[in-house]
Amino acid sequence: MGKTLSEKVWQDHVVRSADGEPDLLYIDLQLAHEVTSPQAFDGLRQAGRRVRRPELTMITEDHNTPTDDIFAPVADPVSKLQLDTVRANAKEFGLPIHSLGDIDQGVVHIIGPQLGLTQPGMTIVCGDSHTATHGAFGAIAFGIGTSEVEHVFATQTLQQAKLKTMAVNVNGELPEGVTAKDVILAIIAKVGTGGGQGHIVEYRGSTIEALSMEGRMTICNMSIEWGAKAGLVAPDEKTFAYLKDRPYAPQGADWDAAVAYWKTLRTDDDATFDVEIDVDATQLAPFVTWGTNPGQGVPLSATVPAPEDFSDPVDRVAAEKALEYMGLTAGTPMKDIKVDTVFVGSCTNGRIEDLRLAASIVEGRKVADGVRMLIVPGSQRVRQQAMDEGLDKIFTEAGADWRFAGCSMCLGMNPDQLKPGERSASTSNRNFEGRQGKGGRTHLVSPAVAAATAVAGHLASPADLNA
């Protein structure tokens, strides 16, 4: 019987396999950042261990770096301590790092693909749950905890029990104005936040094939939001074209050898998945969340649901709590919901394509009175590219705030936070209670909806601006 893509990649990384034990998998690349690494380095130090393969490691600073003035000293003493610590650790253990002020610094899941470090057929881990982003290239990539980070540093392997396989088949042409973000929000609303637990998911079908690499990354990025361990897309000519001539892409004869291998990374026709889900792309619409988990979403044209709409008692209670936290009344049209803040950025939608899309919508328009719009590029390189294209001017002329790269308001670890009761439309991936600041209320949206919302002052699609 044939194999699925993820089974092929998995098999190529098994160092050791024994009954009743998880497989020991070789890890091709470990990415690290300042928040989830200090305790791992501490563990190594205490045990007198080294990093086994420093050259299979890349570190960046992103989670709590400031994005307003990166050249001023970091004001928050604890953030500063973490940054100082990660730099000292990189030095002590001989690991490559892109620090604040470096052109290749940025959100860990943005810089990997951009530098060409992320390649098909790899195993990639990071102490960060959105590591599945790299799966867009046909890699098995997933988030791990700090103990596992330490384990990979010490052994370049990870103990990992086999996972079940799932296919999400998305077919058909996306209607005008519907983006990759809407596709994944709709999938999560359909299957629920736990729907993917214990699975590696392959996103496939004509819709996925038609997406750009950026769009595929947006989809894979949110795999964890419905519980999947990892999400991946089979590499194709688009993948190879994206990688060609990136700094870390193989060159010359190596490139040919690599591409020859990458081309074998497809699910065989006679392979079977444990679970398959079908999505009709032609029926999708711009999607937004109304609640406090990414599964609580509806089409933008819909109204806020009522707890009674849910038959499962657990969902009903969750909806009640979410509505209370979000300060929303059932039956309210989503488009009547006013926002205070619009955040464009994060590893979900902080790439150049996202900024171009948002800029095309705010161009020649103004951000509504009383709304602040933050544009936070995913990396310094993206920022530079956007400035070369003049996007920064478009944003600042519209009244938006143009920032340096980092995670910023995606998780509110740096000074960019919502105040209690404030409401945002955010292109990030999590609308959890307090995620963007204590008491803050988050609506997850695509970059197109984010930009239109900034102009309208309430949740809106670009089409609404012309109405």
Partner: protein, 201 residues
């Protein structure tokens, strides 16, 4: 890591589903560089409410947490496990958990005991009715007993074995160093390396 064989303690029934790791410990509390001291951030947003169950006088000293389904979803932060442990929890009993959280817990010696949701419901009822009810979790036999409730729970065999013996994962893996070296010898030479640093010109 300390061995985990059996534990008896009082419980904290937490009737909430989808308690993600941002709720267990918000990001602003993640700034330490040690594995201790995270108890302050545990359930930080809810802690300010004196009615929140963790604040109830009769729940002080509880060591077994019984949350609703989809506990520990979201962010990979192992700080969620440390915060629970720093606060004093030894066991989490529930029906469904985020994968990364469950993994992290196993690595740090916090037992995640999986039972069907109807067992959770019965444990909720019993421990809400009597906050002093002692709950015993036995890892060797994979059983939970509390008053007249007696039930099995799931934990994978490998995690059970490691917890019972207090084994450190890295130590176990390093006994297979030869296998790792043999694998490395076969890796294609074109596989990516990050050193020396490269950049776009």
């Amino acid at each position: 890591m300390e061995k985990f064989i059996q534990h008896t303690g009082t419980a904290l029934p937490l009737r909430r589903s989808n308690v993600d790791t941002d709720q267990i410990i918000p990001a602003v509390y993640l700034k330490r560089i040690t594995k201790t001291g995270f108890e302050d951030g545990l359930f930080a947003a809810w802690r300010q409410d004196p009615e929140f169950i963790l604040n109830k006088p009769e729940r002080q000293g509880a060591t077994i947490l019984i949350p609703g389904p989809e506990f520990g979803t979201g962010s990979s932060r192992e700080h969620a496990v440390w915060a629970l442990q720093n606060y004093g929890f030894k066991v989490i009993i529930g029906s469904r958990f985020g994968d990364i959280f469950r993994n992290n817990a196993g690595k740090s010696g916090l037992l995640v005991a999986v039972v069907p949701q109807d067992v959770v419901d019965r444990l909720w009822d019993a421990t809400e009715a009597d906050p002093t009810l002692e709950v015993t979790v036995d890892l060797e036999s994979k059983t939970i007993s509390a008053g007249d409730i007696s039930t099995g729970f799931d934990v994978d065999d490998y995690t059970q074995y490691r917890l019972l013996n207090g084994l450190d994962d890295i130590g176990v893996t390093l006994t297979h160093e030869d296998d790792i070296a043999a694998y490395e010898a076969e890796r294609p030479s074109w596989k990516v390396t990050t050193l020396p640093l490269r950049t776009q010109d």
